[in-house]
């Protein structure tokens, strides 16, 4: 098996602010981020790591049907840093940090995973398919890439409405092979839509290596064909991610149109709880990426800036571990949505055929059927 080595990935131009030891690279443009924001960024990345770790553990215990981790990719999520609350986010399934940054808390997160009665999306989708209209974060779909042209449409609508809001969409490098990616990029270029495309290039799409997705030298260079700038950035370098995102968001707000950002990162673990990467990937490969770990690099940077302490880190991880323990108990105990809600939200109002079907199901629920929950 070929090995994906960060050293060869680096040989293409890659924007970087921090080196592997968290020191600022000579000549790098360091984005202006307040101490408070730096700490919040670190806290959010750590939160993702704590949540991922705990969720995968309970998945392994059989308590959770499915889970997807982001280990090693946490910094890419924080491309949302320069966004305002009125900017919209069109995520894929692997950007937990973007949700947490926006204020989507552990409680909602866990209720969605369990698809229980408190799940904001009423138990309709598999775990990790969140939706939060109150945060302007759009419902996640499993068919990859569908969100890309949608983000462009929202951005075009923002432009047509005369606001300076912007839309940001996330997806993996595998998803850049879909028709939707190319359609969305083309529309955005033509419409000069205020949209930012963030490709999380984590090297793998389930078992398929990024070299089998594209013969181009990079994913960022695809921007050229659609008349927009493409930025290639070290996705494990939080400051570089923010610097690139700042630039793209500023351009969009100023009416200069879309930008494509390729965040070069690496999927340290399996695609999801259902995956076994040892079948298709050299087991030595992930360790090559460990020196690039985004959390370690940010911690080292914060240490150098004297704004990190062990106590602080422990406080943060304890806080989220406690929250998880608390809300996990609640989420597990909470029953699934009531049977009759199966028919809600298909339409605004129930047409006759759904009324009949609902009646039929409720009749079944009333007569003995051991499989039906009480509602």
């Amino acid at each position: 098996m070929n090995i994906k080595n960060p050293a060869t990935v680096d040989s293409l131009e890659l924007r970087r602010v921090l080196d592997d030891d968290g020191k600022v690279v000579a000549g790098a443009k360091v984005p202006e981020v307040s101490e408070k924001d730096l700490l919040r960024l670190f806290e959010t990345m750590l939160m993702v790591r704590v949540v991922d770790e705990r969720m995968m553990r309970i998945q392994r215990q059989g308590k959770l049907g499915f889970y997807m981790k982001s280990l090693g990719e946490e910094a890419t999520h924080l491309s949302v840093f320069p966004l305002r609350d009125d900017d919209w986010i069109f995520p894929s399934y692997r950007e937990q940090g973007a949700w947490f940054w926006r204020g989507y808390g552990i409680e909602n997160f866990l209720n969605q995973l369990f698809g229980n009665r408190k799940d904001p999306t009423k138990g309709r989708q598999m775990p990790v398919h969140h939706s939060a209209n109150w945060l302007n974060v759009v419902s996640i779909s499993s068919p990859v890439g569908t969100q890309i042209p949608q983000a462009v449409g929202t951005a075009a609508a923002m432009k047509a409405s005369g606001t300076d809001s912007v839309a940001m969409t996330f997806f993996g490098e595998g998803t850049s092979s879909t028709g939707e990616f190319h359609v969305g990029m083309n529309f955005a270029g033509v419409m000069k839509a205020p949209v930012i495309f963030v490709i999380r290039n984590n090297g793998w799409a389930i078992s398929t290596s990024s070299e089998r997705q594209s013969a181009a030298k990079s994913f960022a260079c695809k921007a050229v064909g659609y008349g927009m700038p493409g930025i290639r950035v070290d996705g494990n370098d939080i400051l570089a991610v923010i610097q690139a995102s700042n630039e793209a968001v500023e351009r969009a707000r100023a009416g200069l149109g879309p930008t494509l950002i390729e965040c070069v990162t690496y999927r340290i673990e399996g695609h999801s709880s259902s995956d076994d990467p040892s079948v298709y990937r050299n087991p030595a490969e992930p360790s090559l990426w460990e020196p690039k770990d985004p959390l370690n690099r940010m911690r080292a940077y914060l240490k150098n800036e004297s704004i990190w302490s062990e106590g602080l880190e422990k406080e943060i991880s304890d806080k989220y571990n406690d929250e998880i323990t608390k809300y996990l108990a609640i989420a597990e105990a909470e029953p699934p949505p009531a049977v009759e809600t199966l028919f809600d939200d298909v339409f605004q109002e129930l047409p006759w055929h759904l009324k009949e079907q609902k009646e039929y199901l409720m009749q079944q629920a009333r007569t003995k059927n051991p499989h039906l929950h009480n509602s």
């Binding site: 098996m1 049907g65 499915f66 698809g115 229980n116 799940d119 009423k122 138990g123 309709r124 989708q125 598999m126 398919h129 779909s141 499993s142 068919p143 990859v144 595998g174 998803t175 092979s177 879909t178 028709g179 939707e180 799409a205 389930i206 078992s207 398929t208 089998r212 997705q213 594209s214 259902s274 079948v279 298709y280 699934p336 949505p337 049977v339 809600t341 199966l342 028919f343 298909v346 055929h353 759904l354 079907q357 199901l361 079944q364 059927n369 499989h371 039906l372 929950h373």
Partner: protein, 324 residues
Amino acid sequence: MPTMNIIQAVNSALRIQMTNEPKAIILGEDVGKFGGVFRATAGLFDEFGEDRVIDTPLAEAGIIGAAIGMAIYGMRPIPEIQFSDFIFPAFDQIVNELAKFRYRSGGQYPCPVVIRTPVGGGIRGGHYHSQSPEALFIHTPGLKVVLPSNPYDAKGLLLACLKQDDPVLFMEPKKIYRASRGEVPEGEYTVEIGKAKVVSEGEQVTLIAYGAMVDIIKDAAKKAAEIGISCEVIDLRTLLPFDIETITESVTKTGRAVVVHEAPKTCGFGAELASSLYERCLASLEAPIERVCGFDTPFPYSLEHEYMPNADRVLGAIRKTLEW
């Protein structure tokens, strides 16, 4: 005879075809090195090489479009769509191209592409890993649609599909991919396309299903027998062209029918089956034909169990036809 599950039976059929037919070529997402997310193509990449077992970029329209191009050039492509829920980016290529190539070229370009794809719910997969979109494809002139319910039929039907020259959508019931086990010959054999199977004979009600729902109607027939009702159980196996003779004969005999599928009821394949039976057996019918189907809602996650047809619902429908 070895015992296999459906995955192993499919894998065995693919290996035979790849060995005997040098023009056979497998393509799809993760089908190569990994051997498919359900492992249906396991081992084939090592055995037949990367030119014949191709890991494609993530684009279903590309997979089917490329398969068409290979087929009209004389190859025998076997594309995999990872989940039938993800077939829709390729809908245009399937409906407007693959299914029409032979016809629109006046017979110049037959298109022998056999698309394999897992279908159905019951795996806690929510909207996008559970759907049963067969009716959309049965409704597409020019496409054969096959959906086996057990390992023996899966292997024999897949080999039959691979030997003929029309495009086929070969759907695989993923809920019972591993749970359904049975004796399967090691070597080559075929199960005829277009032939249903009478699983068990009965006198009063005909139960018709396909794929994972066959186990449900078998179960319902057993429950019905316990209360003295005799059911005939039919596994359709091929959805298009479906075996009109077998079902007509059965319903003419029993005078009652219950059709079961997990896809939504409205415009589901059950409507076509019922309608065809009314056209042919009206005089023999003792009661209206009953349909037990998925509800007309998107496939849910938490309420999956409530959504899926079960033996109790089928039993209710059986009684209804008898009490009518």
